[in-house]
């Protein structure tokens, strides 16, 4: 049987590969969406944080002998702490201003972080091996699925839906949503909004670092790994509806699949397909797929 001129087996394997990439998009765009939602800041430094996550994993392994599993915890914590510091020192001053300023500041931050890493580690990138326990692959019949990639999907989805649950279904989540909207009033009701905001930024950034650790064994760990991805992730967030949690998760996964299919049908166009989808979606639904207008 053939679909789109491909045997079903090939199609199935391409869909799966697309889903794997979609998992990265989902985790990254989720963090971005949370940060935008609560801080009203378009975090241009998100790619840099993702890159830092991967580098922390690499440094932990090569310099301190800390394994992948350790890195999976350490990197988000360290990068999250870095995020907390950034929020406290810099972003805090921008909340009352237009989006534009947050964007500019985080863009500047991204330049700084990337520049420093480039200076320290060169541009070519470093290799990070797949952890022992996840090496090898699973022959699925239609394809050979590297175990590690299967793990990526599982880990990413767990984190995404865990986050969604926390935000939509718990009291803490209600504080977050309320604090997003009108921090002053929520604070006047007795909730410590500044801390809430700081922690949220830290958490969003930690998600990026988590994605970075997940990515380290798959991609070369390089200072530019984040900036290349960032603009696509932005598109994902916008298509999903700015600040919508579920929107960013589903759109991330969905776009991964659509992009994967494009790579097969018209590879040259795979870098542009996200934007085509974006124009179409925004034309039909001005606030994105899941956005509140």
């Amino acid at each position: 049987m053939e679909i789109l001129g491909m045997p079903t087996a090939v199609l199935a394997s391409q869909l799966l590969v697309g889903l794997i990439n979609g998992s990265f998009y989902a985790v990254l765009s989720l963090g971005l969406a949370i940060i935008f939602g609560l801080l009203n800041i378009i975090n241009f430094a998100h790619g840099a944080m993702y890159m830092m996550g991967a580098f922390v994993a690499w440094i932990a392994l090569t310099k301190f002998g800390i394994s992948y599993w350790g890195a999976l915890v350490i990197a988000p914590v360290l990068v999250g702490a870095f995020g907390v510091a950034i929020e406290r020192i810099l972003l805090r001053r921008l909340y009352k201003l237009d989006h534009l300023y947050g964007l500019l500041l985080t863009f500047g931050l991204a330049l700084i972080v990337e520049g420093v890493f480039r200076d320290q580690f060169g541009i070519s990138g470093q290799s990070y091996e797949v952890p022992e326990a996840l090496a090898g692959g699973i022959p699925l019949g239609f394809m050979f699925l590297p175990t590690y990639r299967a793990w990526v999907v599982v880990a990413a989805l767990t984190v995404c839906f865990g986050t969604w649950f926390m935000i939509e279904k718990t009291k803490l989540g209600a504080y977050l949503r309320a604090g997003t909207e009108n921090p002053q009033i929520v604070q006047a009701l007795g909730i410590n909004v500044p801390v809430l905001i700081t922690l949220t930024y830290g958490f969003g950034v930690a998600l990026a670092a988590f994605a970075g650790v997940l990515a380290a064994p798959v991609f070369q760990v390089s200072p530019v790994m984040g900036s290349n991805l960032l603009i696509v992730v932005f598109a994902v967030v916008v298509i999903g509806g700015m600040g919508s949690i579920l929107g960013s998760i589903f759109t991330g996964l969905g776009l991964g699949v659509i992009e994967g299919l494009t790579k097969v049908v018209y590879p040259e166009g795979s870098s542009i397909v996200v934007f085509v989808v974006m124009v179409i979606v925004l034309f039909i639904r001005p606030a994105g797929l899941f956005g509140r207008s």
């Binding site: 504080y175 309320a178 009701l189």
Partner: protein, 240 residues
């Protein structure tokens, strides 16, 4: 200082409070004292600084100086959420209902800061509209319903000092009447209330004392007893 023998201990005292928004200096040294269980109003024209006085207590202005004592504690340097946790409930004039939460979530958002607050059921009895629309997103409520919700959500927390900014604004007379009854009950329960009102007919029977503001300064203090004789003057200054 407060003494245990006084029947009405002093609950809130503002001394020489100045408030600023950015570079504009709005309050020019306000002094006022409210005792436990009292209800006072702040009167004045539009822009005279009544809302700003309430915001200063909550720490919601750009900058403030002077002294604000709450129940014997200096709170001028405290963060807003701490002040709220000391048992101050604030109902802002713009209502500030949260769109991303449902009506009921809005109602239950604020943490309970002390015992003795109303239960959700009591509140629904008081405002049946809210019960009916409990699952609707907060800002999809009508203007008046939002006003009820803004008031209701601070009744739940057990806060003993209520700062109420124009709570009758946009409410139908039926509801205004009910609110008047509620405030009377609250007073009896020992709540301390600072009211900012345009609706003098509503405020006059409730208040123990009236403070009159003009251009950010306190120009008169009128105890309830003196109200009849000062009515003419008030009419002139405020146009009521």
């Amino acid at each position: 200082m407060t003494s245990a023998f006084q029947p009405q201990p002093e609950f809130l005292r503002l001394t020489d409070v100045h408030a600023f928004y950015g570079e504009s200096h709005v309050l020019h040294g306000i002094d006022l004292t409210v005792h436990k269980g009292e209800c006072v109003t702040l009167l004045g024209r539009n822009g005279s600084g009544r809302s700003t006085s309430l915001k200063s207590i909550m720490g919601l202005v750009g900058r403030r100086t002077g002294s604000i004592m709450l129940n014997g504690n200096q709170i001028i340097d405290e963060a807003t959420h701490r002040i709220a946790r000391r048992g101050v409930g604030y109902c802002p004039e713009e209502r500030a209902i949260l769109a991303s939460l449902s009506t009921e979530e809005n109602l239950t958002l604020a943490p309970v800061v002390a015992s003795g607050g109303m239960s959700v059921d009591e509140i629904y009895d008081m405002f049946p509209n809210l019960k009916e629309r409990r699952n609707s997103p907060g800002t999809k409520l009508s203007g008046g319903e939002q006003q009820m919700l803004a008031m209701a959500r601070i009744l739940r927390t057990g806060a003993k000092l209520l700062l109420l900014d124009e709570i009758t604004e946009g409410l139908a007379p039926v509801i205004v009447k009910r609110l008047g009854e509620v405030i009377t009950v609250l007073k009896q329960r020992g709540y301390t209330i600072v009211l900012v009102e345009q609706n003098f007919r509503f405020a006059a029977p409730l208040a123990d004392r009236h403070y009159v503001l003009e251009h950010g300064e306190l120009v008169a203090t009128i105890p309830r007893e003196e109200l009849p004789e000062k009515m003419d003057w008030l009419q002139q200054t405020l146009g009521v």
